[in-house]
Amino acid sequence: MAVQEKSFDARRAESAPKQVDVLVIGGGPAGVWAALTAAERGASVLLAEKGLVGTGGATAAGNTTTIYAGPSSLEREAAIKRRLQHAQGLADRHWIERVIDESFARLNQLADWGYRYPVDQHGQSYRGSLRGADYLRFMRRRLRKAGVEVLDQSPALELLLDDDGAAAGAVGVNRLTNEVWTVHAGAVVVASGGCAFLSNGLGTNGLTGDGLLMAGEAGATFSGMEFSGQYGISPLFASVTKGIMYFWATFTDEDGNELPGEGDRQGIVARQLLKGRCFAVIDKAPPYLQQGMRVGQPNMFIAFDRTGIDPFKQRFEVALRYEGTVRGPGGLAINDDGATSVVGLYAAGDAASRENMVGAASGGGGPNATWALSTGIWAGRAAAEFVARLGNKHHLRKPKPSGQVGLRPTRETRTELGAREVIKAVQSEILPIAKNFFRREEPLRQSLAALDGVWAAASGELSAAHLPAAELVRAREAAAMLATARWVVASAVERRETRGLNRRDDHPKQDPALARRLFTGGLDSVWVSAEAQSRALAS
């Protein structure tokens, strides 16, 4: 591995800072809508994306179902009811309504701008689904038009903070040129998605919790991190975690015995995988629907076609891939405007806690995409307004870097603790279904102790400061996964009940007194605290 002559800080000091009003980190749906909205409000905007705006993140790799329901329609009321039911006491009706209503307007606006929706069997323009790669490519063009500067292949590595601890920009690196970049900004929007811990689930390997780590280093508060026992079903050999088709599947064990558990797809597979192998066949879809699946989900079928499997007739072995806070709701706690607990720092999409919309449950299949769109708009708007209130003062600030683990180790003498070792250690605690799908107090505590130990070692020793871009990024991803894992496990320990995506085998029932949010944060020492009042009692 080529060692750079200059340290990260030396390279950072040499990079000429760009000055903008709003910096957006991440170019999935949340980020592109945030950037566009801030630009429409007159702010100068720069969007930094780890991959390409168009291919990065969970939406790009798949199709995305949205909630498309007009004001006072029956669909809207039904969607709200469904959400409240699934949320198990932790969502907020007012939030669900505003998310659906904001998105409805924008999904229509997409059509006005020229996005081509299909026409359904009733001859109606069908606006409840977007093709991820097309949607983001389309939004990329809108960003250009709106004058947003886009940095592709340019992951942010750390936030810059002003003397009062407010967010004031970020530093990152271009993976293709190896150049370090610095952006000074009046406000920062974190839209870097969730954390799926490099589990190889579709479109999730770039989602390593980087924005969560950066916000955590600035002192931000998280919420709902325990609702993260979220796994996606994939064929054993493939990455495609498209879940919807399994509604028409039969699951069997190795001997072909059908597995019980109507409706709870992941649960059926998880319980079987504790015992042995699990198989599926999508045998309940009539030919008309088969064609809909095939045309609508090309990446799922390309995997089957290239291996010569007919999933409608032949059993194929399935696995669960961990999706963590991508399809699980946990993330940065935000207020109505998308503001985090750090001044000048906003969050949207999967990076934000989605509990207001989905409570304790996953919001896959519509709510998540709708949430990303609406919260992106709100965060972009609030960030632009915040900068307008700051006036030109923000140009005079002297922002300081805040990144720690992976960039600035605390110990002088170091052994060689590498990013890959850290990642392995984190994965061994967080990926296994026996530890994280089915949770229990003792194993959780052991995981937390192990992860705390890795954190202490990584703080002291993990450094990529002298390494090229790819390694620098890996080291920060390792640190981010480690930090996120600790917030997840620490929160899961404290929620001694089974609710939504926190399945506690030692507390299999819901506890009405725990109908309250759990907040977490902290780096060297992780804290967890509960909302003062139970929601069930409060309402």
């Binding site: 689904s129 292949q153 993976r175 293709l176 190889n200 479109g203 390997n205 609508g296 709708t370």
Partner: protein, 112 residues
């Protein structure tokens, strides 16, 4: 995982290098890109979508490498299969109007 950059077909446009969300390729001036970090590939097929000449092949096996034979892939019509299914042409998006995803929501079994 990504298994092939066809030197026959590649026009060295570098689209895959910038498009890959996992930074798997390295650019080589005036030459086809190299698969520099194959183990970072997330098997998302998106590089195939962006390649204007169907020069790439992503094997669906996410965790193991499979040797591929270019002539055989061509004979089986597998190169460019994902792009064709999506309807993109020459690196340009198209085909959203032909999406049939809505069929999965018609019988009310699944609702967002």
């Amino acid at each position: 995982m990504i298994e092939l950059v066809s030197h026959e077909r590649c026009i060295t446009c570098q689209a895959c290098v910038t498009a890959c969300p996992e930074n798997v390729f390295d650019k080589v001036p005036h030459r086809p890109p190299v698969i520099a970090r194959p183990d970072d590939c997330q098997t998302c097929f998106l590089c195939e979508l962006y390649c204007p000449v169907d020069a790439l092949y992503v094997s669906p096996f996410a965790e193991r490498h499979v040797a591929v034979d270019e002539a055989e892939l061509i004979a089986k019509g597998l190169l460019g299969g994902f792009r064709r299914a999506m309807g993109w042409e020459g690196g340009h998006p198209a085909g959203t109007d032909r999406d049939l995803t809505y069929r999965m929501f018609e019988d009310g079994r699944v609702a967002p």
